[in-house]
Amino acid sequence: MPSEISRRAVIASAAIVPVAALTATAQKPPPSALSDAQLRLLAAFVDRLIPKDELGPGASESGVPEYINRSLGDFLASEKPAFTEGLEGTDALARRTQNAAFVDLSPERQDAVLTVMENGSAEGFPNARAFFNRARRLTLEGMFGDPYYGGNRNFAGWDLIKYPGPRLATTADDQKMGVEIKPYHHSAYGVGGENHGH
């Protein structure tokens, strides 16, 4: 029976998953790659990309800075100097053009800073556009990736776009159009998605 075989395989796989999750929760997060000030700036930055509003939490509440911080501490360690330089460039641009630190600006004025960066028209900040695009890309990874990596807290990202969650098997009913698929709030590494491994 096809269903029987895949069901058994799925159960066998499922039996492995919590082990990885347990190992992961026992691990401590890597040492912070960014300073507290850099993290505050990053949180303000990503909250303009994905703001908290009536549709749900914003990027910082969803753990996006945590995702980026952890990534820069391990998998993206080689990118850390360029990223921190980008953060410093953002703050310097804010001080030059809006006369205040980025974190102290109103949301509208923060948007004005980010807009010139996105346009590539930020004077004295030649890498502004590349940094903006990279930060936006990492924000999407943190918001919509598996919570295992520190972002997408409480599955806020997946709920926002109505992604029903990773499962080990799906049925034809899970592929129907025009029906709400019940979200399955599970990390690929265990139920809660509150793990601190990577």
Binding site: S6, S13, L55, R136, F144, D146, Y149, L168, A169, Q175
Partner: protein
């Protein structure tokens, strides 16, 4: 000092999609085979996860990082400065990239094997792509058919026949060449969105069908059926339903006790004697150099590495690289014009299409009206076209990175509202354009960039081409027509810029009867070194408008079969 190993009959360099298939007929014939693989085994329970960051963002479904340390350089013209690519499109493992490929398993069309002569016959030589080095293959579809059939059954392919010995069935692809029998398994499961697209294609008078794939639609030879979980792309199959050679032909060959797998073994040179025969291969494992003597060597290390290994293997008999005394190694290279080359089309629907789960291209519906020479090209100014495929499987980061179709900014509350509404309402598509070799498109060794062993990496020279640009745009317009018929409210077409580094690349050791323009003969053996065979896309002379893997595997089986039947004359 190199350690000399016990001689074997055949050394196969690379146990991926092609080499992993060739070992089976060799081992069954009683030949002693050394399968020399840079990567190692992967464990489905441990290594394959429904995790987009692991699979797609970080590309961690791999083992030994050999390919990642020898990424080719790329330039669009012979006068441009080549730059090293960011990632290598392929990976190293027992089973190779067949572990996480999309598994569409096509036969090429009869036309693909004789594109040159058929084009001249139907339209005149003036329609041949300018500057191309196109030749007819030395093999016809009819000659390859029995090998396609064998591999479809040995590896396990799901699909619906459209032409069994001349009897057409519109449930399958009526434009395919005649096959001797039905596929061993029916196509993968259909679903709402695929049915919707199928109906729309029919409303245009087209003949849609479900894609053939090397994924089990039902249990097959002790392996499970597809679970449709939606992490097929760049992820290995956790239930072993994707028929990578690491689950199929390689273990089957090991059962004969005639195949020994040497894993984590990085081949650095193929060695030849003064008479021009190859004597074995040198490889490095854990820092130690070994020499594996072999009576015959088959090279199946992907297009870039096949050329690079030959060019690096210089000797008295081959001062310009192994089997390169005619200067053809690296020539007639070309990449496939597909999504990796900008030939994409994306559509937004007014309703939720729910394409989250599934099995990528393998759970797909295809239209073949606008590929190959299925339609009349008179007055169009190009040959070929593209297959159009709509598919299932969408990952959340990719979904949130969707085009905003010019409707909202790329961030902020309006964007948030947009992806909330539309992430479930858009889909991409996969177009594959018939692509051809050209004089100014080739592989050689990079003069500057080296791998950690100090050997130059492969350099790719491949620029824009008029024929393929025109045929790609023509096919994109047909795809838009299909999406509009299905009710799409926005359609965005990519700019076909042409292939860079890609999982679909061809040539470099092209197959042909003429040694002045080809590296290997009609059986896949070198015109110069009689006991050296080449396997994989590197022997192709045209791409077809579809995925290459099944054709690579049919050719690999055929080369191995030819070797077993002519052992004395080839092995000497």
């Amino acid at each position: 000092m190199a350690i000399n190993l016990k001689p074997v009959d055949v050394a196969v360099v690379g146990l991926g999609a092609a080499g992993g298939v060739a070992v089976l007929p060799l081992a069954r014939a009683g030949l002693k085979v050394a399968g020399i693989e840079a990567g190692t085994w992967m464990d489905p329970a441990k290594d394959f996860k429904p995790d987009e960051i692991h699979n797609n963002v970080r590309g961690l479904v791999t083992t030994v990082p050999k390919a990642k340390k020898e990424i080719p350089t790329f330039r669009t013209s012979p006068t441009a400065q080549a730059r090293q690519g960011a990632t290598h499109p392929m990976m190293n493992a027992v089973g190779g990239t067949s572990i996480h490929y999309h598994a569409q398993s096509w036969r090429l069309k009869p036309w693909d094997f004789k594109t040159r002569s058929e084009t001249i016959k139907r339209y005149g030589a003036s329609l041949l792509p300018k500057g191309s080095t196109l030749e007819d293959w030395p093999v016809s579809y009819e000659e390859l058919e029995p090998y396609y059939d064998t591999v479809e059954h040995e590896v396990g392919v799901s699909g619906k026949a459209g032409n069994i010995q001349g009897t057409l069935d519109p449930a399958g692809n009526v434009y395919e060449g005649p096959r001797q029998r039905e596929y061993p398994m029916p196509p993968l499961r259909t679903c709402d969105f695929l049915d919707h697209m199928h109906k729309a294609a029919k409303s245009l008078g087209w003949k849609p069908f479900h894609a053939p794939s090397a994924i089990n639609s039902q249990p097959y030879r002790g392996r499970a059926a597809c679970a449709y979980h939606g992490y097929c792309d760049r992820g290995g199959c956790h239930v072993r339903a994707k028929n990578s050679t690491c689950f199929t032909t390689i273990p089957e060959a090991q059962k004969t006790k005639n195949l020994t797998v040497f894993d984590k073994a990085q081949v650095t040179r193929i060695v030849a004697d003064a008479s021009g025969k190859v004597t074995g291969v040198s490889y490095i494992r854990d820092g130690q150099e070994y020499f594996q003597p072999a009576k015959v060597v088959l090279v199946s290390s992907y297009t870039y590495e096949n050329t690079r290994l030959l060019l690096l293997s210089k000797s008295k008999a081959y001062p310009n690289g192994l089997s390169n005394n005619h200067g053809q190694v690296g020539k007639h290279y070309f990449g496939h014009w597909d999504a990796q080359a900008g030939v994409g089309v994306t559509a937004l629907f007014p309703m939720d299409v729910n394409t989250w789960y599934g099995a990528m291209l393998s759970q797909g519906v295809v239209v073949d009206e606008w590929a190959d020479d299925t339609f009349d090209h008179s007055g169009l100014g190009f040959i070929g076209g593209a297959s159009l495929c709509t598919y299932m499987e969408k990952h959340p980061i990719a979904a949130a990175s969707m085009s905003t179709f010019g409707r909202v900014p790329a961030w902020g509350s309006k964007w948030k509202q947009f992806v909330h509404e539309n992430a479930g309402r858009f889909t991409g598509t996969y177009l594959q354009t018939n692509s051809f070799p050209y004089e100014n498109t080739y592989l050689d060794l990079d003069p500057e960039v080296k791998d950690p062993l100090g050997d130059p990496v492969c350099r790719v020279t491949s620029g824009p081409k008029e024929n393929e640009t025109r045929s790609s745009v023509y096919a994109q317009n047909k795809m838009e027509e299909w999406f509009r018929a299905a009710g799409a409210i926005e359609v965005v077409k990519g700019q076909p810029f042409g292939p860079a580094l890609s999982t679909h690349t061809y040539g470099g050791t092209r197959m042909g009867d003429n040694p002045e323009t080809n590296v290997v003969d009609r059986w896949g053996f070198s015109h110069e070194a009689p006991n050296l065979g080449m396997l994989g896309g590197s022997v192709f002379g045209t791409s077809g408008a579809r995925n290459p893997t099944l054709t690579m595997q049919a050719l690999a089986w055929r080369t191995a079969d030819h070797l077993t039947k002519n052992w004395k004359s080839i092995a000497g």
